[in-house]
Point group: C2
Chain length 258, copies 2
């Protein structure tokens, strides 16, 4: 394309082409890339659904969720039996005749079609780093923190002693790495927008961790500020308050009763 | 851009434009997006390095690895102490003045700048699904399979009984899901190229699993064929044989001595 638009191989250099050739040669606009509405389906809890819901809400694209479809836990077995979810798991995003599984894949897809992927290659890379680091944190929470459905010392989840060590030692180390990455950026977020899919996914896990241990990022002021700024965005507030297409989403990671 | 190239708003419909307008309006060519060589640094084992090495090799971009930098395990502490790796972890990819951490982020970055991300939104989504599912498999291996550095029942790794159950029950279920997704595609791979970053990352984990349990995908013939076809690609063979810029990479997951 560069050869055709810019170098005159086809003899069209006489055209009054703008100087910012590539800024114009963008992919089709987001509305052209997604037909109708996207539909996100997930259990009515935060867990792996909050990140995708935030991406959907902040994408500016039309989307439907549990509030529109009436999906809840009681309908999961029937949905699973249809074979529609590719990995027999939720969340799924139905869009353009496809069914996309895996929270990360859903976020990255939405990022790509809506412009939440970062404004350039460098921001894209940063968003992807933050996304992967957030998944690591989520996995650590799955191992250490009781949930609505799983207590200490059941099915791979460790016990209360390990939980104490987790919050006292592991978490500070991990959030310290994010603080360092944030400090290396120019502003108060990891990218210029602050709302790449990686950053929204990070917010989704930070929020769930804060519900368990409210002060856990008080010692990393940059990250705390990022968290609070993101939380105050109207679209984020809407999702957290249960007013988005997903309706109410419950807290998933919980504190074990002492 | 569509208005200018295709609809004649600027009075240029007389140009002999091809019908695939968007296929032409691609971002700048990959050589324009990466200055000089990318440098991948990782311990000389497969683990989380094989996927990024495959992506680098198949990207068609110039890249350097341990073979060029002389990096090995003995140099890790010194590198870590410089603070260069953003999360104090490997792999890292140095490119365009950035340091990108997290294997998944590295693969996605390479995919974006080299065209291994899928030819359209749908293929991109499929690649991302496969990528996330591969990470799930990798994590399951970390929990169940001994490695060069960690035996059964140490630091979160389960024991030999759980390992048996893993290969007998968990793995067949997981690879069955991939077989189903593959069956839904038009060809013998998940996308038209078969070499999106998601597919290369999947191959990287399948290969490591096969080194432990050679017959583990014999019951999923589509996936086995995908594995063998990918393995036979010259660039893949080159990496596996230790002839790429990364040099020799050792087997990481091992079978425990019975």
């Amino acid at each position: 394309a560069q050869a055709i638009l810019g170098s005159g191989h086809l003899g069209i250099t006489h055209l009054p082409l703008p100087t910012q050739t590539w800024a114009m040669a963008e992919p089709p606009a987001k509305k052209a890339r997604v037909e109708g509405s996207m539909t996100l389906t997930y259990f009515p809890v935060f867990a792996k659904g909050l990140g995708p819901a935030l991406c959907a809400e902040l994408s500016g694209l039309a989307w439907k969720g549990n509030n529109d479809t009436g999906f809840d836990l009681s309908k999961w077995q029937a949905l699973k039996d249809t074979g529609k979810p590719p990995f027999a798991q939720l969340p799924i995003l139905e869009v353009n005749g496809m069914v996309i599984a895996q929270a990360i894949a859903i976020c990255n897809y939405i990022g790509r079609v809506s412009g939440l992927e970062g404004k350039d290659d460098a921001e894209f890379a940063t968003s992807q780093m933050v996304l992967a680091a957030s998944e690591d944190l989520y996995m650590l929470m799955q191992i250490h923190q009781p949930t609505l459905f799983k207590s200490y010392n059941t099915g791979g989840k460790l016990g209360p002693e390990e939980n104490k060590t987790f919050w006292a030692k592991v978490v500070p180390t991990e959030v310290g790495k994010l603080e360092k990455l944030l400090a290396a950026s120019a502003g108060e977020s990891f990218t210029s927008s602050g709302t790449t899919v990686g950053e929204l996914y990070l917010f989704a896990i930070l929020h769930q961790m804060k519900l368990c241990t409210p002060g856990f990022i008080d010692a990393t002021p940059g990250l705390l500020k990022f968290y609070e700024k993101t939380k105050s965005l109207p679209g984020v507030t809407k999702v957290l308050e249960g007013k988005s297409a997903m309706g109410q989403m419950k807290q998933y990671f919980i504190n074990a009763s002492d």
